[in-house]
C-alpha cells in the first residue's frame, strides 16, 4: 500500500527577553545552577506572577509576521502536574484563549513552495531542569530556566514528509531570528521541536492515529526522527496492529524513537484560568505600534534580493536563510558593487570555508568589507579569480589584513602590460621550439600548453585574457 506521511510541529521558541516571563530574574544561559531563580521562580509560598510586557510584544510581533488573528483578550491558564523541576506544581500557559490565533507561513524547499497553517501560538513559562548524571542516586534541580518565556507555535498537520517538516521548522527558525524574538540556539534549547506524526493510506482524508515525538534538538534529528517514526508506524500497521497514541522520545544515539507514555497514562492537566493574572488585553494602537517596528521579513528580503540584485530565487533563498547572512551579503555588495559576484563568493568560497570549520557567519574571520575589497580587485582586473582564491585563504588566516595589503606585499597584482606579456611569450616560444613547430604544423590543442607556460612564468599574475589574445597573434 502507498502511505502518506502527515506531520504537524509544536515549536517552543524561547523569547529573548532580559528577564523572565513572570519575575524579574535574569534569563541568561549557562549561569551556575539556581543563581537565576528568585522567590517567584522558586514557587515560595505567597509569591505572585507579574507578566513581562516584552513577551506580549514579541508574541504580537510573531503573530503579525504570520498574518495571524491576534486575540484582543487572551488568558493565562494553569496546567497542573507534579514534577520536581516544576516549582509551583503547575505551569502558567495559555489554553483556551491563546494570544496568537490562526495564521500561516509559506515555505520553500526543493524548488517547491507551500503554505503551512499555524493553528495558534501561545505564551508560557519554561520549567527548570532535572539533572540526573552528576548526582548518583539523586536528582539535582536547577531552576535557572524556570520561568523563562516561551512562545509555543503549533502548526496544522500540513506537512507531508520529513523534508517538508524540516523546511517548515527552518522557516520558523529564520522568522523568529529575523524578528529578533528568539536567538534560535538549538544546542542551548532556545528552539525546540516536537513532531506529531501519523500516516494514512494515500488518498485517505481522515487522519491516522498520531504519536508525538519529543526531544529533537536539531533539524537533522528532526528529519531522522520523523522518518524513523513513519517507518515504524508503517511496520506496525502492515503487521496488522494499530498505532498507539502516545508520546515518544527520540534517541539520537540509537537513531530511534521509544515510548515515553501512552494516552492512558497521560496526565489530566486540569487547566483553569490563573486567578493570579489578569486577562491580557491588547488594543489596535498597541498592535500598530508593534507593526511599525517589524523588520523586513525573510520572504520580503528574498523578493527584494531577486528584484534589486537580479539574483535567482534559489540564491536569494539561501542568502536570506538567516538575517546575519543576508546582512553580510549586503555589506559585501556595498563594498564590491557586484551582486552576482558577491552572491557567488558568499555562497561558494565563504560558505564552504565556514562549513569546513563549523562556524556561523557571525564568527567569520573575514569581514564583509574585506571580502568586498577582494571582489573589487577581481572586477577591476587587478587580480585573477585564481589569485583571488589564494588571497581569500590568506585573508581567512589574517583577518586584520585587506586584499590590497596582500596584493601589495606579495606582488600579486595582475600583469596587464602587453609589452611585458609579449616578452614572456617570446621567452616561452624560444624555450619550446619543438612545441612551436608542432603547433604551427596544425596541432591546435598545444595552444593551451603555451597559455599554461606563460601563466607559469608570470607566477599566475598575467592577465589570462591578454595572454590569450597576444599568444594567438604571435604564434
Amino acid at each position: 500500500m502507498q502511505w502518506e506521511t502527515v506531520v504537524g510541529l509544536e515549536i517552543h521558541a524561547q523569547l529573548s527577553t532580559q528577564s523572565k516571563i513572570f519575575s524579574g530574574a535574569a534569563t541568561a544561559y549557562g549561569a551556575a545552577p539556581n543563581t537565576q531563580a528568585c522567590n517567584i521562580d522558586l514557587g515560595l509560598p505567597g509569591v505572585l506572577p507579574v507578566l513581562n510586557k516584552a513577551t506580549v510584544e514579541k508574541a504580537v510581533k510573531f503573530g503579525l509576521s504570520i498574518d495571524a488573528e491576534l486575540a484582543p483578550r487572551s488568558v493565562f491558564a494553569r496546567k497542573n502536574y507534579f514534577y520536581p523541576d516544576l516549582p509551583k506544581g503547575y505551569q502558567i500557559s495559555q489554553f483556551e484563549l491563546p494570544i496568537v490565533g490562526p495564521g500561516h507561513i509559506d515555505i520553500v524547499y526543493d524548488g517547491d513552495s507551500k503554505r503551512v497553517g499555524i493553528t495558534r501560538a501561545h505564551l508560557e513559562e519554561d520549567a527548570g531542569k532535572s539533572l540526573h548524571e552528576e548526582f548518583p542516586n539523586l536528582t539535582g534541580i536547577d531552576l535557572n530556566r524556570a520561568g523563562t518565556p516561551l512562545l509555543e507555535i503549533v502548526s496544522e498537520p500540513d506537512m507531508r514528509s520529513a523534508k517538508e517538516a524540516v523546511a517548515y521548522a527552518k522557516a520558523i527558525h529564520s522568522l523568529v531570528r529575523y524578528l529578533e524574538i528568539c536567538d534560535g540556539n538549538m544546542q542551548e534549547g532556545s528552539f525546540r521541536c516536537d513532531a506529531n506524526v501519523s500516516i494514512r493510506p494515500k488518498g485517505e482524508t481522515k487522519l491516522g492515529t498520531r504519536t508525538e515525538v519529543k526531544n529533537v534538538n536539531s533539524f537533522r534529528y528532526l528529519e531522522r526522527a520523523i522518518n524513523y517514526e513513519v517507518e515504524r508506524q508503517i511496520d506496525v500497521i502492515e503487521s496488522g496492529q494499530k498505532v498507539t497514541q502516545e508520546t515518544r522520545l527520540f534517541d539520537a544515539a540509537k537513531n530511534e524513537t521509544r515510548s515515553m507514555r501512552s494516552k492512558e497514562e497521560a496526565t489530566d492537566y486540569r487547566y483553569f484560568p490563573d486567578p493570579d493574572l489578569l486577562p491580557v488585553d491588547i488594543d489596535r494602537a498597541f498592535i500598530e505600534s508593534v507593526r511599525a517596528e517589524l523588520p523586513e521579513l525573510p520572504h520580503e528580503k528574498q523578493q527584494r534580493f531577486v528584484n534589486e540584485y537580479s539574483l535567482s530565487e534559489y540564491d536569494a533563498n539561501v542568502l536570506t536563510s538567516n538575517p546575519e547572512m543576508a546582512n553580510y551579503f549586503e555589506e559585501v555588495v556595498t563594498a564590491a558593487e557586484q551582486p552576482k559576484l558577491a552572491a557567488n563568493w558568499v555562497m561558494g568560497e565563504l560558505m564552504a570555508a565556514l562549513n569546513k570549520e563549523n562556524l556561523e557567519i557571525a564568527d567569520c574571520p573575514i569581514s564583509a568589507a574585506h571580502l568586498g575589497g577582494l571582489l573589487q580587485r577581481i572586477s577591476d582586473n587587478t587580480i585573477s579569480g585564481k589569485i583571488a582564491k589564494e588571497i581569500f585563504t590568506m585573508l581567512w588566516h589574517h583577518p586584520q589584513k585587506t586584499a590590497d595589503d596582500i596584493i601589495e606585499a606579495q606582488g600579486l597584482k595582475q600583469v596587464s602590460d602587453s609589452g611585458a606579456i609579449e616578452a614572456m611569450i617570446d621567452d616561452v616560444m624560444n624555450a619550446n621550439p619543438k612545441q612551436l613547430e608542432q603547433y604551427r604544423g596544425g596541432q591546435d590543442k598545444l595552444f593551451g600548453f603555451f597559455v599554461g607556460q606563460v601563466m607559469k612564468l608570470s607566477k599566475g599574475k598575467a592577465n589570462p585574457q591578454q595572454v590569450n589574445e597576444l599568444l594567438k597573434k604571435k604564434l
Partner: protein
Amino acid sequence: MHTKTLTALSQGLHQGDFTSEALTAHYLERIKALDAELNSFITVTADEALEAARAADKLLAVGKGGPLTGVPIAHKDIFCTKGVKTSCGSKMLDNFIAPYDATLVTQLQAAGTVMLGKTNMDEFAMGSSNENSFYGPVKNPWDLKAVPGGSSGGSAAAVAAGLCPMATGTDTGGSIRQPAAFCGLTGLKPTYGRISRYGMVAFASSLDQAGPFTRTAEDAALVMNAMAGFDERDSTSSDVPVPDYTKTLHDDINGLRIGVPKEFLSDAEGLTPEVKAAVQAAIAVYEKLGAVIQEVSLPHTGSTVPAYYVIAPAECSSNLARFDGVRYGYRCENPKNLEDLYKRSRSEGFGDEVKRRILVGTYALSAGYYDAYYLKAQKLRRIVRDDFQAAFAEVDVIAGPTTPSVAFNIGEKTDDPLAMYLSDIYTVAVNLAGLPALSIPAGFVEGRPVGLQLIGNDFAEGKLLNVAHQYQQATDWHKRLPE
C-alpha cells in the same frame, strides 16, 4: 493599657503618656500570662518586638513617626515574615522560615508598628473554627469552651483578649468577619484587590483578601490607611486611589439607605432567633440615626455556599501543589522514590480538612467535570455579583447577620464538615462578588458576641467604616471586654 483602643494608644504614645517599649512589654507579659490557655499565638517574637519598640520610641521622642509608630500588632501566620517562621497553621510549613516579607508586613512595618508575633489559624486558612490548626485549637476569650471562629481565629482571640490592639487576618469566605463576630470585634474584609496579596500564602487566589481586626471602626480606619494600596507585585491589586479612611468616619448617615436582604433574615438558613433579634435591634438603631431601611433581595444566596465550595477548593488544589516536599517545608522520611516522596510528604504534612478540599478541588477541575462544577460555579459567581449590583442600585449599604449563630463549642461541628460549611452562608457571597464587608459587635447571646455584617459596593470601605463608626457612637457593645 490593653483596655484602650488603638486610637487611644496612638495618642498616648505621641503624648508621651507611655513608651512603645513599655506598651510592648505589657502586651508580651499578657501573652505570657494568658496565651498558654488561649493558644492564639504560634510564634512570639519578643526580642525583635522590644527592639522595634525602642526604635519607635526614638522617633516618638523627637516628635516624629506616624499614627501607628510604636503600636504593637500581630500578624496572622499566613503572611510571610522575613527570618520568622511562617507556618500557615500547618505541619507542612512548621519548618519554614520565610526569606522575604509580605507587602502588607512591609507596609505596616514602614508605618512603624511593632510585630509581637504570628497568630494561630486554621491550616492554610481552611476552616471556620480554628480547630484545623496543626498547633491546636484556639479558645474564645469570651467563653473558653467556644471556638473563636476561623480561619483567622488566633488574630481574633488575641485582639479580643487584649494581647494586642490590632491583628491582621485574611478572608476568603468569611475568615475575618466570622471570627470578628464570634469574638466581639470589628473585622473588615476590604474589596478584592484593595490590599496586596503578595507574600500572603494563597488559599483561593480569586477570593483571598487581607484585612484588620480591631476593637473599633475608628481603629480599623487608622490601620487601613497603612494597609490599602496598589502593589506592582500583585497583578490583581487595584490602583484605585486610597482615601484617608479616618476623614469620613464622622459623616452624617441621616438619609443613608440600608438594604436588608430578605434571604438573610429567613429562618430557612439556620439563623437562630437570638441572632436575628440582635440584628433587628441593630437595624433599629440605624433607623433612629436617620437611616432609611429597605428590604432587598439576593435571590441566589442559597447557591453561594455550593459555588464557593467548588471555586475555593479548585483554586486551593492548584495553589497547594507547590507543597511537594522538594524545595522547602515538610518532607517525609526516607522516600523510596519520587512518587513516594510526593505521596507521603503530602499525606503526612497536610491535615484532614486541607486534604478534603484538595480532593474536592482536584475533582472539580478534572476533565469531564470541569464544565459541570468549576465553570458552573463561575457562572453563578457572576450572577451573585449581578444580584449585589442590582441591590446597590437601590441602597448604599447592605446589613444583616455575619453568622447564623453565635460561637459554637469546640468539637461541636468537627465531625460534620457540611454543617461547618453551611455556617458560612452570609459571608461567602461577599467574597464571590469581590465586595468589601465588615462585622461589628451588635449584642450578646448567653455571653457570646453577635456580629452585624455591613456590605458595601466596590471600594466603599470608607463608607462602611463611617456607617460602623456611627453605630459604635450610639452603642457600647464594642466597648465590652471579656473577663
